[in-house]
């Protein structure tokens, strides 16, 4: 497990956070998939992320992906939203996933754009599709959905076929433009 050193370094630096590496997946025969995640509280995220990027044992120079998940109906889930940071170290060629859990009514996560600039659009996307705010983001606007939509379509309580936005879409004609 190449990630073990990185996790050990994070545990040593942040003993108060009690990092326990959990596999993303455990197969029925007991093996795990070799991909591990750590739970990070939102208020400590920036510290952890900066350390993960800069420490020579972790060196997660790249934020490979940033995704939101709505665990509303997920079996056994106690928290609603997770923002998942998929970190990648090109130096050590290992990956680690960080999860930050947030809840209604006002899900806020600090923005990591100051650490990885590549987080800019993915954070906008999560804001657009899940309604999770990223505090400190330089330009937090909707990115995929048009202006004027108030819902967040990837939330689990949003129906697949929408809430009639398609029918209510205003048609611009020469007269109304």
């Amino acid at each position: 497990m190449a990630t073990a050193d990185a996790i050990a370094a994070l545990q040593a630096r942040f003993p108060e956070l009690h990092f326990t590496p959990l596999p993303l997946l455990r197969y029925p025969d007991g093996r795990d998939s070799g991909q591990y995640w750590l739970r990070v509280p939102a208020e400590r995220l920036l510290e952890v992320a900066r350390f993960a990027r800069d420490d020579p044992r972790t060196r997660f120079e790249q934020l490979c992906d940033l995704a939101g998940v709505d665990y509303l109906n997920f079996p056994g889930a106690r928290e609603r939203f997770a923002v998942i940071y998929s970190l990648l170290s090109l130096t050590h060629n290992h990956r680690l996933w960080l999860k930050v859990f947030v809840n209604d009514p006002d899900p806020v996560v600090p923005s990591v754009t100051g650490i990885w600039r590549g987080a800019e659009w993915p954070e906008r996307e999560v804001f657009d599709l899940f309604g999770i705010r990223f505090a400190g983001h330089p330009d937090l606007r909707r990115i995929l959905c048009p202006e004027g939509i108030t819902d967040h379509p990837l939330r689990k309580d949003y129906p697949l076929r929408g809430r009639g936005e398609r029918e209510a879409f205003s048609v611009v004609t020469r007269e109304t433009a």
Binding site: L25, S33, W37, Q62, D65, S86, L90, W121, L129, L144
Partner: protein
């Protein structure tokens, strides 16, 4: 020629308060925007001071759809993501799904998938470099890129019946085995059609002084910035980032002992350029096509016999059509897999699988609640990640460089917006 390579070309910016800037809306409908992209450009004369991209015109909720389609059905949607090389999206999707199910593919399936993935890469790069030339006014280059794409379409059609929306992979395998003589026709294509086409391509573009002057030193991004901006694929490699998932996280035939009998991983070189500009990206892509051809030749030499799908008793693949139509067991088995209250049941958990797609790292992050459709099907699209750096690359350049940079990033709007 602009030589702005710095990230904050403030020297080129005029004071905005003097009201001397022009706003130009570039797109959404414009032949050089590769789909529907909308750029809001603030111009000082012909120089771009600021660029605000507006995306989302092709947003069709692919990730939401993914939560309602089962693991085999969704492959059809992945075809529609990067339509330059749909086969690579299929492979990426099922690579992640197989990681979730914990399936080890059969050697023949790995070989076929490797071949088509590299064919997809050639197909994608030919179009990308050709379109890049087209945007800069070199129509001939575009046509020379399109000619050798055609036989790849034919080869894919032979394989799965569709030229374009191939939907070729399935959980634990592929739709059907390669037809007889298919590998010979690929070999003929790689030996007879592709090399002269690439030669012509290079002569037309790289040895063309006008073209080179248009692309050299344009849209430069440094090694560290490329990493920090989450760039992957040819765009990152053109900035000197040594990263290729085929080498770093080997899968399919890129891993040692891929057939379980000690076969070596295919040998190839990862082309790296250090310029970080449009020309470097084109050079990297041109060389990658040659490497892909070499990979395919090796895989054809080692092509194993045997089944293409994992065995039926592993309970993950659809049975063969002959079995479905001519035996009752096959029919029952088929229904068990198809019916929405049965289907394939992965373990509860999450998995991330990524492949080196032509544009960069194409990955899927799957969350499974144990049901027959994913709970969440996050796609990590290389276009989306690569495009966010575009306004930064553009600042300080001439308006005629906009299309040069845009073409070199190879933004596919359908993948960008999903």
């Amino acid at each position: 020629m602009s030589s702005a390579t710095s990230f904050q070309p403030t020297t080129l910016m005029r004071d905005e308060t003097d009201g001397d800037l022009w706003t130009l809306n570039f797109g959404p409908q414009h032949p050089a925007t590769h789909g529907t992209l909308h750029l809001e450009l603030q111009l000082d004369g012909e120089r771009v001071v600021r660029c605000t991209p507006h995306i989302g015109y092709l947003h069709s909720g692919f990730e939401k759809l993914g939560e309602h389609l089962n693991y085999n059905q969704y492959v059809v949607v992945t075809d529609r993501m990067n339509y330059c090389s749909p086969i690579c999206n299929n492979i990426a999707w099922h690579h992640a799904v197989e990681k979730l199910f914990g399936i080890e593919l059969t050697p023949r399936c790995k070989a076929i998938r490797t071949i088509v993935q590299e064919l997809g890469r050639i197909q994608d790069h030919l179009l990308c470099v050709g379109a890049n030339a087209l945007d800069l006014g070199a129509l001939t280059g575009f046509l020379y890129g399109f000619n050798p794409r055609e036989p790849i379409m034919d080869l894919l059609e032979e394989l799965c019946g569709a030229r374009f929306t191939v939907s070729y992979t399935r959980v634990g395998g592929v739709v059907r085995d390669a037809p007889p003589g298919w590998t010979d026709r690929i070999r003929r294509y790689l030996r007879q059609d592709l090399p002269p086409a690439l030669e012509d391509f290079e002569t037309l573009l790289i040895r063309n002084r006008i073209f080179v002057e248009r692309v050299k030193g344009i849209g430069v991004i440094s090694h560290d910035d490329a990493i920090n901006w989450s760039l992957t694929g040819p765009v990152a490699r053109a900035s000197g980032v040594k990263r290729d998932l085929r080498k770093d996280e080997p899968y399919l035939c890129f891993a040692d002992n891929w057939d379980g009998r000690g076969a070596p991983a295919v040998r190839f070189q990862v082309p790296i350029a250090y310029g970080g500009d449009v020309l470097s990206r084109i050079l990297v892509r041109l060389e990658e096509m040659r490497q892909s051809a070499a990979i395919i030749e090796q895989v054809i030499d080692m092509m194993p016999e045997g089944p293409v799908n994992v065995l039926a008793d592993e309970d993950v693949t659809l049975p063969d059509k002959r079995e479905i139509y001519f035996s009752i067991e096959g029919l029952i088995h088929h229904f068990e897999k198809i019916m929405s209250n049965r289907g394939l049941r992965p373990p509860l958990g999450e998995a991330y699988g990524a492949i080196e797609a032509p544009n960069g790292e194409l990955g899927f992050y799957l969350v499974s609640d144990g049901g027959n459709a994913p709970y969440r099907a996050r796609c990590r699209p290389p276009s989306f990640m690569n495009y966010q750096v575009f306004p930064v690359l553009l600042e300080g350049h001439q308006i005629s460089d906009v299309v040069a940079i845009l073409g070199s990033l190879n933004i596919i709007a359908a993948e960008l917006d999903r």
